[in-house]
Symmetry: C2
Subunit: 186 residues, 2 copies
């Protein structure tokens, strides 16, 4: 089994780090609370007048590098490897790649070990990457070709409209993947 | 047609930049001349006593960013796009990813334009990337799965033992690709 794990929102906790940085930089402006997030792209949840402030937070040097892991993600990564699965980290860099690209590697080295950096695949189009499954918080993953993987949505407030989909968290992942394997033609 | 182009050795002229940097840093030690290169990994062509010096050259800050383009590569990239092909830049970062990863993006932005950075796919395992063709100077591309692409070798002294393979350069590429299309089942 070849499984692709998205990085931001699945392994690295972008959302809560964003809120913490917002509270530090703009304590007088209320941010969009986590449970109120409705768009996959965080900027789309902010009014135009605040988008520059929001973008400045997540493109700042060190922001991506210093994201905390999503609780349970590091343990699940190692557990999947121990189960004999081929695990890859499949992540789309920001169009403002400048800090983000190297910091994504630094993040993986810090939390998953230097060897895990060799499991990274950076691409803006994930349909071009082969796999049996992808775990990703993006509600719909589109690209140039019909994907070879089945998409399991990592649960987040901004993807809960995709009601028919299987929902995974690092608390229920063993059950969800067992269900996938039972149901699937792998 | 989805075509993957390798970066170092195909778009970016790693070999000649290495020789130029060597001549600057170690003028008293003769390097391995380009035509005498036999191994895909440059370190394998140097005696153990010189490998540290060689590695220091290509992992130095700025080395990857400042590589000159392979003559004809930039023109061919734009010509392939103009022909309606879906062109992606598929590149494996060094295990010493520190400078290399961000600089590969900077190189693409400088020579192919910022928009082209969105066509980049960074992966240590290119068999996981889908495509019809890959142009790569590595003699044999191996990985976790059977690739979907056909490999066209970009000609270099260290891959000329692969005698049965089609050989491409940015001088003959129109003929080689026309031959591939004629022969292939795309």
């Amino acid at each position: 089994m070849l499984i692709l794990l998205d990085q931001d929102g699945v392994l690295a906790d972008f959302e809560h780090a964003f809120l913490a940085a917002w509270a530090t930089h703009y304590p007088e402006i209320p941010p969009v609370a986590y449970e109120d997030r409705r768009s996959f792209k965080i900027l789309d949840d902010y009014p135009p007048a605040l988008r520059g402030k929001a973008e400045a937070i997540y493109t700042a040097p060190g922001f991506i590098r210093d994201l905390p892991p999503v609780p349970g993600a590091v343990e699940a990564f190692h557990a999947l490897l121990a189960m004999g699965w081929d695990v890859r980290i499949c992540t789309s860099p920001l169009t403002q790649y400048e800090n983000c690209v190297a910091e994504k590697y630094q993040w993986v080295e810090r939390h998953l070990g230097r060897e895990a950096t060799q499991r990274m695949i950076l691409t803006r189009d994930k349909t071009l990457v082969r796999g049996d499954l992808i775990i990703d918080d993006k509600p719909r993953i589109e690209g140039a070709v019909k994907p070879s993987w089945r998409h399991i949505i990592y649960d987040a407030p901004y993807n809960r409209e995709e009601t028919e989909a299987t929902r995974l968290t690092w608390q229920n992942w063993r059950n969800v993947l067992a269900g996938e394997l039972y149901r699937g033609d792998y």
